[in-house]
């Protein structure tokens, strides 16, 4: 019986929902006319809105999950971890408290209350931006070491890489405009054709994965098998 609840019923739900969405996508035009088209459109809209509600719910679920995972680290005093977990919980608590009970004098949604916004703007944004910007230093160091014309292929990669750098730098767009048509040609014919191949391959893969999931051959989303 447990197998029915854990496996067969979820697979059946997935099958019905998947088929409904496919039918709705292929049989309902942007402006439904026939009664069956209108009915399918209604069902499709309802299912899509359910999915959005579930997505919103997962944010709250993530918060609870983080609380339990890091709470466990703190209570067990996990070496090398517990103080990071404690800090995370403290900061999370502060953000949630100010997000919900912050200054409401503007009469607007909680996400823009003054204290929440202040912390976001002056703490989270600079930290997040710094993490992102530090990539520039790593990329420079990595390029200096890795971009070597050791082989013919590496040489070609090096030349194209340098051309793209010249194209991206505004100063070279002004003083070395001859490079732009060349890079555009590379983008237009070589890069795009390669990406088309990748996209078509990924698209076919996604279709196959979808079919396998709908007919119950792909069950990774059900979690661990016991």
């Amino acid at each position: 019986m447990a197998l029915v609840y854990r496996r067969h019923i979820p697979i059946l739900i997935t099958f019905i929902m998947g088929i409904m969405m496919i039918v709705q996508f292929f049989l309902v035009p942007p402006k439904p006319v026939e009664p069956y088209q209108k009915a399918l459109a209604e069902v499709g809209e309802a299912l899509t809105n359910w999915a959005n509600l579930l997505a919103a719910f997962t944010i709250g679920f993530g918060l609870v999950n983080l609380f339990f995972i890091h709470g466990r680290h703190v209570t067990r005093r996990t070496p090398g971890q517990w103080y990071y977990s404690a800090w995370l919980l403290f900061v999370m608590f502060i953000m949630v408290i100010f997000g919900i009970f912050g200054d409401e004098e503007l009469g607007i949604s909680t996400a823009t209350t003054y204290q929440f916004e202040w912390m976001y703007k002056w703490i989270y944004t600079p930290l997040s931006g710094t993490m992102y910007a530090s990539l520039a230093f790593y990329i420079t160091s990595a390029s200096y070491r890795a971009f070597r014309a050791r082989t013919l292929e590496a040489g070609v990669l090096l030349i194209v890489g340098l051309l793209v750098l010249f194209k991206l730098a505004p100063v070279w767009q002004v003083y070395l405009p001859q490079v732009i048509p060349l890079v555009n040609w590379i983008y237009k014919y070589i890069v795009t054709s390669s990406y088309r191949g990748i996209l078509i391959g990924a698209g076919i893969g996604a279709v196959l994965l979808g079919i396998r999931t709908i007919i119950g051959l792909e069950t990774g989303y059900l979690g661990r098998r016991e």
Partner: protein, 280 residues
Amino acid sequence: MAEKKSIIEWIEAMPREVIYTIMLIVLIIPLIRPLGIPVPVSARIKEWHEFIQNLPEGSYVLVSIDYGAGTIPTFEPFMLATMHDLFSRPLKIVIMTTYADGPICYKSVMDKLKPEETYGKKYGEDYVFLGYIPGGETAMKAIGENLPKAVPMDFYRTPIDQIPMLKGITGAKDFAVVVTVTPSGDVSEGWIRQWVTPYGTPYLCCVLAMMEPTMMPYYQAGQCKALCTDAHAGEYEFLIGKPGEGIKKLDAFSLSLTVLAILIIIANILYFVLKAGGKK
């Protein structure tokens, strides 16, 4: 005892701390003292600007602020320039986000734009903010199908049917264009899958410079009417005459990329010198 390295060997294997320092200096100098390097205006940014300028009066535009805090320094200049371009025209602008921290990014842009003071626009009549709509691509599909049903109220909790500019708006087929600024491939391609393919809505997309090749097939196929990157922000500001953060960063951008290219060339020359000397 380790063999002493020659100066060429040392430069060829330059310690990363030295490279970081060079890059730091190169980035800081133009920010403190701008070099005044000329600003080029590329065809891509002209295409973006012309598309907005050619929209018929009263057209509905969906702007999705699809970036978060980490990319505010990167994307906000472009988003702000786009907003200036849009708000300077008699258009109806519907703004939303598929990022949880998008509302903060919206507020940051609007605080700088000041649509009421600068352009005389009224909230609810000329523009509206729907807030964060969770679900990613499913959210795009939902608002495309039936906007009032998917988003029953705006960010400030006003029911959609009480917002004058949204009366009669049902979904994607009412919009003249959808605009997104995003560092996410799922988002940039998601709008194509959920709005461009089923409804034929014209699409303007701004992504990270490194993502440009991934969007090129859609751009060449005409599914994306204009494709720009965060690196175009300075050009856009210059084009519309609204200098801001983008232009300030252009000199640092130019100089850092040039220094990176020079470093790579030097490293290769030294590599071949050492190889000729039998040391590689």
